[in-house]
């Protein structure tokens, strides 16, 4: 547990400098998500996921408006995943976003490749997606996410044990003739209850507006529940 404490402290300290950036857009809040996966056959599964983001602090708002608890967006998505080989799968997803004035739909294509070490797992996720938002140009994105999962008790994550999951993702997008880049860093502490259930607590730090508009950072306190059946 000592190790968990130190890891959590390091990630907290890393996230602190973002609060002091006042000239760029910054907002933070809570980000719960639920993922439900249904195994169809040995090689096929369906995933349904719902994510919700509520803003607690936004530096664009007047001082008296913070702290707040305002709905930012809710995303629902479904994936059909087909395994090509153990640890290698392709998926097709449909996504809908509920966001004030910016409801949108997205189609997602995905390739995931899992590598396993003696005590860790590394996953490479490649995604292409196309987002359709009313009165806006089509947005095309290509994303790559690298995730590393480490057991915190022993050489393998066993039921009842904690693990650490961290990921880095870069997103390249093109919309209405303009290119943009977004980066995401996430770190969470997970508990593997059983093959059916997992729970993760973490932080998700996102930066965008590198090429267009103003630079923006978002920091989310994330809680994720995963159910498999």
């Amino acid at each position: 547990m000592k190790r968990i404490f130190w890891i959590a402290s390091i990630f907290f300290l890393l996230s602190v400098p973002t609060f002091s950036q006042s000239r760029q857009t910054f907002f933070t809040g809570v980000f719960p998500e639920v993922s439900i996966t249904r195994k169809l056959t040995e090689t096929q599964k369906l995933n349904f996921k719902i994510e919700n983001q509520h803003v607690i602090f936004d530096n664009r708002d007047r001082e008296e408006e913070n702290p707040q608890f305002s709905h930012y967006r809710t995303d629902i998505m479904g994936f059909f995943d087909h395994s090509l080989r153990p640890g290698v799968s392709v998926a097709l997803g449909l996504f809908h976003r509920f966001q004030e004035g910016e409801d949108g739909n997205r189609i997602i294509q995905q390739l995931a490749v899992l590598q396993k070490g003696r005590s860790f797992r590394v996953n490479h996720r490649f995604r292409a997606d196309q987002t359709f938002t009313r009165n806006q140009a089509l947005e095309l994105r290509f994303r790559y996410r690298l995730s590393v999962e480490l057991p915190l008790e022993g050489a393998e994550v066993d039921p009842g044990e904690f693990y650490l999951l961290s990921s880095a993702e870069s997103i390249f997008s093109h919309k209405g003739g303009e290119f943009e880049i977004e980066n995401r860093l996430a770190a969470s502490l997970g508990k593997f209850f059983s093959r059916k259930e997992k729970l993760e607590w973490g932080v998700d730090y996102r930066t965008d507006g590198y090429l267009q508009d103003g630079f923006r950072t978002r920091l989310w306190a994330k809680i994720s529940y995963y159910y498999n059946f």
Binding site: E42, N47, L114, E153, E156, P159, K198
Partner: protein, 191 residues
Amino acid sequence: MKRNVLILLIVWMASWSVSFAQDKVEREVRVKSDEVPDRAKSWLKDAFEKVKRPKWFLEYSQAGKAFEAKFWWEKHYHSVKFDSLGKLIDVEIEIAKEEMPSSSWAKITSYFESEFEEYSVMKIQRQLVGEESDVEDFFDEEETEGITLRYEIEFHGKKDSWQIWEALFDEGGEFISLVRVQIRPVDNLIF
């Protein structure tokens, strides 16, 4: 899960049972050296003199507790397993395909070719089982008397679909058993 299956095989081998045991490792945790029985540490020191700080693990299963030391020795990754009192159960050594005796490997590949449409070997482990003194002699003097050698091979194999498998073969490459290995859910990594 792969670990579970590995332990399952070891427990089965240790019990010399005819039927495949239903024992399952419930959990394994890292432990400090001073929590390990002296008998195990002492055997390890005699057999592998230059190994300074092996990583120790304690495994819980329906069969009871077992201690396992993991370390690198002469460019090979070793796992040495002891029962709860510190008595040696077996030694497993990861080896490369090229280190397999060619006659045994020929038999093993012919098994793969007959049972699977396609296959790809991921990991080969040489298992040594025997009396503590015999296994120690094996490492000190390369003396094989009293030693039972087996090969445990983890591979991707395609029957109806691709799966991960773990097969056990005797020293000559004769097939003993086959189990399927399940990957721990990856939903948090891919979605």
